[in-house]
């Protein structure tokens, strides 16, 4: 293998911090995946590092993305059958104000835009660019501020929890998908802001980019699950 990634740590065998995140590949693994066959075909001589390719080649991520989207789709279908088959009585929950509903719908809309512009681009052309990137960055700003509103309005408060647990009305999927949504959203927004600060070098930024897109994927999946849970609850199937 003639090449390694840009800004390879001084000690190549040292574990990079991306390995702390379970699914993330190490730099060497990425390098193998991205350049293994292609560069080996060149005989591995007289080539300088393909810097540009390292940064945008989502070979692994696009596979994960496709698998995840299929898995979520399958889960939703199976979940729908399961939910309908084990239909429970409808429990009246407290109605939200129109403003808070607007925030909630807005938040889900922004997540949809972010998902479509990023994953859509990656699935289509393997890179984010042009107006898709522009829309993604614009929506990202809205996402950050809506996150505050959503956290304040929709996370289950103690009193509600007490009530919910007491009557065992709160579906576990609704609760935990909401928490997963919040956690992944915080990570996805946090990595975005971290990359905007003059803190990380190129290598660090690349690692953060990896974290950002996996966190983004988690955000989209958890948003879908949350929405499904809400739909089930609203229609009285759970």
């Amino acid at each position: 293998m003639p090449y390694e990634l840009l800004n390879q740590p001084e000690r190549p065998e040292k574990m990079s911090y991306s390995t702390l995140f379970l699914l993330l590949p190490t730099e060497r693994q990425l390098d193998d995946l991205i350049h293994g066959s292609r560069w080996a075909a060149d005989g591995g001589v007289s080539r300088s590092l393909p810097l540009a390719e390292l940064l945008v080649s989502p070979v692994l991520f696009s596979d994960v993305l496709k698998f995840s989207l299929v898995a979520v789709l399958v889960l939703l279908i199976l979940g729908a059958f399961f939910t309908l088959a084990t239909n429970r009585r409808h429990v009246e929950t407290r109605r939200r104000s129109w403003a808070s509903l607007l925030v909630f719908v807005g938040f889900f809309g922004v997540v949809a835009i972010l998902g479509a512009t990023s994953f859509g681009s990656i699935l289509q052309s393997e890179v984010m660019s042009g107006y898709a990137l522009l829309a993604h960055v614009t929506a990202a700003g809205a996402f950050t501020f809506l996150l505050v509103a959503v956290s304040a309005m929709f996370l289950p408060r103690y009193s509600q929890l007490e009530e919910a647990f007491r009557f065992e009305h709160r579906w576990w999927l609704a609760r935990w998908s909401a928490w997963l949504l919040m956690l992944s959203s915080l990570i996805v927004a946090g990595t975005m802001f971290l990359s905007m600060l003059p803190v990380l070098d190129t290598n660090g930024l690349r690692q953060v980019l990896e974290v950002h897109r996996y966190a983004g994927l988690a955000t989209v999946i958890s948003a879908v699950l949350t929405a499904a849970a809400i739909v089930c609850t609203r229609f009285g199937w759970r």
């Binding site: 007289s46 540009a52 390719e53 700003g141 950050t144 996150l147 007490e162 928490w179 927004a189």
Partner: protein, 703 residues
Amino acid sequence: MPIMVRLSFPPSQGIDVVQKARRLTIIGLERALLLGVVLTSLLSSAYGQSRYATSDNLSGYVHWIELYDAANNRIAADMENPPPYSPATTCGRCHDFNTISHGWHFNSVDDTLHGRPGQPWIWSDPRTGTHLPLSYRDWDGTLDPDQLGISRWQMAAKFGGFLPGGGPGSTESLQQEVAPFNGSETIDRTHITGALPVDCMLCHHRPGSGYSPFVWTEQIEDQNFAFAPTAALGVGTVSGSTKRLKDDFDPAAEGAAKQLPQVQYEGERFRKDGKVFFDLIRTPENSSCYYCHSNISSNSVTGERWLHDDDVHLRAGFRCADCHRNGLEHHTVRGFEGEQLPAEASVASLSCQGCHVGDHSGQPLEMTGRMGAPRPQHKGLPPVHFEKMTCTACHSGPAVSPIAGRELNSIAHRLGTHVKRTGNELPGIVAPVIMPAAEFSGSSDEPPVTHQARYTPHRLMWPSYWGTIKDGTVTAMNPDQAYELVRKDLKVRREFTEELGEVKLSLSERTQLLGEDRARAKPEDWTAEEQKKIADAEEVARTSQVAERMGLALAAIEEAMPGTQSIYISGGQGFVRDQEGIKTIDAEELKNAADPYAWPLAHNVRPARQSLGATGCTECHSDQSLFFNAEIAPVGLLPNQQTTSIKSHVLQQADMERLGRWNQMFQGRSMFKVFGLLALAVAGLISLVMFSNHIGSLASRHR
């Protein structure tokens, strides 16, 4: 060459066992010897240097050597009519001259080696306003001298002063027949001058040793090809000029030798044993490279040279040859990403990226960080920039300015010849022009796609030439042929723009404007109003004169080439004949004929704090950023030619609407970061509190 010995064995009848065994032994010996010969030959070809003894001492070899002429005869100082020394036979005694003389600096006529587009040979003929980018390499936008009917000898004579010899002037190149262009004779004086010799000392002389590249250039200009190495080395003086000899001169004729240049060797340079000291160095010094590779901004020649800085690498103690190095085969590393050498040596760590951000996985000589190269941090710079731009886009060349500045360089502007310069000498080369890298064209070292379109700083020139249009296609004319056809009507003797626009009002015309008394006054005595009247009248006369002479010149071409429309191209525009003289044709109608030729630049490398974007994102991501909005002004050669400046985003083919929207994202970015981080902190805090409650609730439930 290894000696091959064929061992034979006489045929015999009734060979006994002993004889059989002996024969088998000899056959085995024969085969072993043959194998040895083959292996030796293979190794010799693989390691060309192995044929020659080397000192291999890092202190370098002290060259007290004998001089030999082209016929391989030893030269003595006291010879009568001594010949010039020949580097091929003198240096070639110990060095593989044949291998060396096919390296990058010598192989421009080689059809198989193209590489990344580079600086062309710019054929300038100031009499006709011609500046044609030429190259034998397959670089889009350049013209092939062979196809233009410019002989190899002409190329050697024109550009040999800034070549270390060989190339188009090599013996094998000069044997290449160039087809006449439109019936015009090609100019070839090889029978008088001989081939252009490779002069090793042009690069390998020690600065201050007395070797003069300026003398080399002077000798080539005098067409004293064979004498140039001797004169430049200073080991002898050369008198006479081959240039003065007529084309039909026969060097073999009786008495002809006296008309050829004469050499007089400096006796004190020869030791008693006839050896001469060559003060040379293995690795060329920067000054040697600079002789042909100087690129200076135009204001450097008008007194501002002291304000300019060196390349940061040179300031750090580097030599050009530390990165642009080569082995015996002299395939000098050009240093761009994706470069491949014919010898397949690894040059990955000799580009900006390879040296500063490469890897540690290869052999020691392929590792990053060579010679102490620091690894750039680029903190906070989104990695997408490396996908879109080369290192040089931000770090190399003159800083971007509102209008791309003019540059002069050694070969195109013959820096080294002693003349007074204004900085506006032609051809007009402008830099930096940041645009997607010129594509590799027909190159054997085709790079990955991602390397082809990254923003790269370029030098750029607009070609100017005479040509013909047939079936909507413009064809450039041979410059000499064009001169022969247009010289009578242009009435230009030396400098096209200046002389074509030179007008002087007659006394009667001045009288008509200023009255009889004032018309005879000296121009400096005229009032401002009078001067304006004269200037306006001259302007009218100039326009008329240019139209008339150009119209006649274009007509002369059409007369000589029936069935074609003649055209003069300059500054991105074309000029053709019409009833009123000439009319302008825009570049769009000319397809690519008037397009500029651009080639990437990489030096001087500026300090990191002076790189593009060092002051923040908005240096480029703003509506008026120079990265996208620097003006590039075509250099037109016709007097008063109105050229249209273009913005760099036009050459970049950038989507300015999208860029405009993108730039809006950078308005108030600092505030967004502050409020965004605050929002994130609040959301995180709320979530943390809520989650604690949630966990607490779960715990209490289980209790």
